[in-house]
Symmetry: C2
Subunit: 482 residues, 2 copies
């Protein structure tokens, strides 16, 4: 590697980042280092894939931008590649804005950025852009370092978009139900972040005026996080929320993979159709055919840790278990006990017209899932946090998890995926991509009897690829028997 370094302000650029000729054109608006200003976005340090993709979209006219269009039209594929490589490799420093927004506005922005508002179909920004809002290598842009002015304009623009590709679909849905005041709050908060600063969820001030009321199981809404009371009850609820949302950090010792509870139970267990915890709370104790006994809510949770988290379940009376149960109890406030509410579990999905097909599923995956979960299914991390969960391999759920069942995966995917854009895949696509995802190797079923065939017969119906040969490999086989 070349060691020649060019001093440029206080930014070190390796020779590999020598500016391509076309960069001068960019620099005239985006600044010499692509650091951006005002309405001209920061392009420095954006994922290479993202820059390339946006230039291509603007060149083709899919992304409409009157200023950029004539400039980009002149670029060759090679120019675009060079520009993407160049600007993605520059990391000029930026400063947190001395914001003029009120503390209430910043707090609102922080809340939306870190927790979102799923009731209005708005996932938290950090769920995709990462805890530092520094983007993802697969093509999710960094938000940190952008001017509030630019962020606001983009959010407003997304509100009116309806078109593909996928990220636009997600952003358009996420922005559609938010107000300009909320956009300003989000933009202002992001502008205040220092480079590398984590956008951390904070506990909102308890809203003492919130009134817990009986609700219909046909139309249930869990209480907002602001309704968590102060005092020891609130501390326990909040602890449960953190364990649930960031199991990796708050209950690490019980987890054997890279997942969080909230990966399969979207919006911290609140989202209807995503196996919400308020529904589970009122349903259990109940009989489960999986272990052929009546399960308490604690036993049900232990099942998740054993299989979906590929871990060692916390004891029924362990502090983390108590915190989870307390959180679920609070989430279910107002919901009648023992009556399966609308939105419980994952919605049943009609059988596909054509049998689920792994190869077709691979195509669906590449178009709709790889952006977040990676081509290798391993997900993406950022700032030390697993942002997108691994879907297969050693760091994913094991062969005993419900989600490795083709139908369960299809139901989950249809209702909840792509993240923030559930119900956009066709039934056939959901079945196909489910088959693709669950036909990959993953950690052994903890109930493994010593024989793949026997374990398959005992625990896996036709609904699983466990014990079946896919691409010449026997899935579920111990390493020495592959």
């Amino acid at each position: 590697m070349c060691t020649l370094l060019l001093a440029c302000g206080n930014v070190a650029l390796s020779a590999a980042h020598a500016a391509p000729a076309a960069a001068q054109v960019c620099a005239s608006c985006h600044g010499p280092l692509g650091q951006g200003a005002g309405m001209y976005p920061r392009i420095a340090g954006q994922p290479q894939t993202y820059i390339r993709e946006q230039l291509l979209l603007m060149r083709s006219g899919t992304r409409v931008n009157e200023l950029m269009q004539p400039l980009v039209k002149t670029l060759s594929d090679k120019d675009i590649d060079a520009l993407a490589a160049y600007f993605s490799g520059i990391h000029p420093p930026f400063e947190a804005a001395k914001n003029t927004a009120s503390s209430g506005e910043i707090a609102l922005g922080r809340q939306l950025v870190t927790m979102g508002d799923w009731g209005r179909n708005a996932p938290a920004c950090v769920r995709c852009h990462g805890p530092e809002l520094s983007g993802m290598p697969s093509g999710i842009p960094a938000l940190a370092g952008q001017s509030g002015q630019y962020l606001l304009a983009r959010l407003q623009a997304f509100r009116h978009m309806r078109s593909d590709p996928l990220p636009v679909t997600i952003m358009s849905r996420a922005s559609r139900n938010l107000s300009d005041a909320e956009f300003r709050a989000v933009s202002a908060y992001i502008e205040t972040l220092k480079p590398g600063e984590r956008a951390e969820m904070i506990r909102p001030a308890p809203d003492k005026s919130y009134k817990f009321q009986a609700q219909s199981p046909e139309n249930f809404t869990p209480p907002p996080t602001s309704a968590i009371p102060s005092g020891p009850d609130g501390e326990m609820i909040w602890r449960g929320l953190l364990v649930f949302d960031n199991t990796q950090q708050y209950a690490r010792s019980y987890v054997g993979n890279a997942l969080n509870c909230s990966n399969c139970h979207v919006d911290q267990g609140r989202q209807a159709g995503s196996a919400p915890m308020w529904a589970a709370y009122v349903e259990y104790p109940k009989y489960r055919s999986k272990n052929k006994k009546v399960n308490t809510i604690e036993e049900r949770i232990q099942g998740c840790f054993r299989f979906s988290m590929n871990g060692k379940p916390p004891a029924a009376d362990s502090p983390d278990m108590k915190a989870l149960v307390t959180y679920f109890h609070w989430l279910a406030s107002g919901l009648p006990v023992g009556i399966t509410p609308k939105g419980a579990g994952y919605p049943k999905l009609a059988k596909p017209v054509k049998p689920a097909d792994i190869q077709r599923g691979a195509g669906v995956y590449a178009a709709n899932c790889a952006l977040c979960h990676g081509g290798d299914g391993n997900g993406y991390s950022s700032g030390g946090t697993q942002v997108f969960p691994p879907l297969w391999g050693a760091r994913s759920f094991n062969w005993g998890a419900g989600m490795q069942g083709i139908s369960t995966a299809a139901e989950f995917i249809k209702a909840n995926m792509p993240f923030g854009a559930g119900e956009t895949l066709t039934n056939q696509q959901a079945w196909d991509v489910a088959a693709f995802v669950v036909s990959h190797e993953r950690p052994q079923d903890p109930r493994f009897t010593g024989s793949v065939q026997e374990t398959r017969e005992k625990y896996h119906a036709k609904n699983s690829y466990y014990g079946r040969v896919v691409n010449g490999k026997l899935l579920g086989a111990p390493p020495d028997k592959k």
Copy 2:
């Protein structure tokens, strides 16, 4: 003791039971051995206290009986004592009737006799008359061996009574809301019992048509026992019900005294105002100042076992604990989570006009409580079953139990006592008798620090007699420090 025995049928009578002269008059209707027939009740083997009391009541005209009145008027106190002693000592055999009632009628009778219908203020007959319906020495009559005809007539008569004394109040309330068809069923079932046969609760056939529905927390009714489903869920619910109702038998190893859960939670935890378990289920997890932490429902139950049951609590994941939680969950069917429902706990009771007084309480106790709990507070057993719980002493709840608090005891008593006749004592009577009951010695507080004074200061407010001198004795003091 005289060993001379008179053979009389197949009944052996000791000389102590030589008939008093007046018995011949009785015999003309009640039979030579007082065994009764048809409308003439069996008086043989009735508790001596009961026979004496009834004769006195009939002589005074308080108990109206046109046939008996002229006969009884001639009896002296001495005659009455002799008759009571004589007939209570005779136990002529009886046979179970070859009943002509339908099996459905018998099943209904059995249900009412063994489980009652608290929704209509009708406690189960066995709760007072004992599991063999053989009465109590303190003056509760035997029902076993009576003709169905007589039982029916008495039940119908009770329906129209309003007067004292206490047992009449209880029976009049219990019978007021039942139909003649139900009376016939009860009478028929009792008639079918063999001597010494236990009237055992049986699981009713699951009523598949029962519809669990959302209910208001302002007006909640738990599902009837007939709504317990078949299958493993139902088995678990039923197990929890049995543990709750007859903890002595079904969870013996966790209990250190002679109590059952249902002693403080009337009607198997269903009764509003008697700390019903459906209310507790939806309230927990919640913070308790008693142990200064958020308690799960399991921890709350463990508290009961430690203090009220003076025992060793079952583990959170023990089968009995899981059964209890499953039962409570089912009882709460349709009740909204996290909202304190009407009927939770014991109803708050206004402070008494005059400070609670132990001596006045002793009088209230003698008149209203001793019939069932005994003058010594030790309760009564029958057929190996503790029918009435001990209220103090080694076999009662310990000094850590909520019920040893004067106000808690007063609240419970006012709402629920006398059994089946709650809300009949005045507030003052409730406070006085509560003070009397909880001013007796009982098992040590398990949190005992080694010093009564310190333990009192740490755990007992003004609301307790723990560490106070009553009748010259320091309550709570270890045996060597009395």
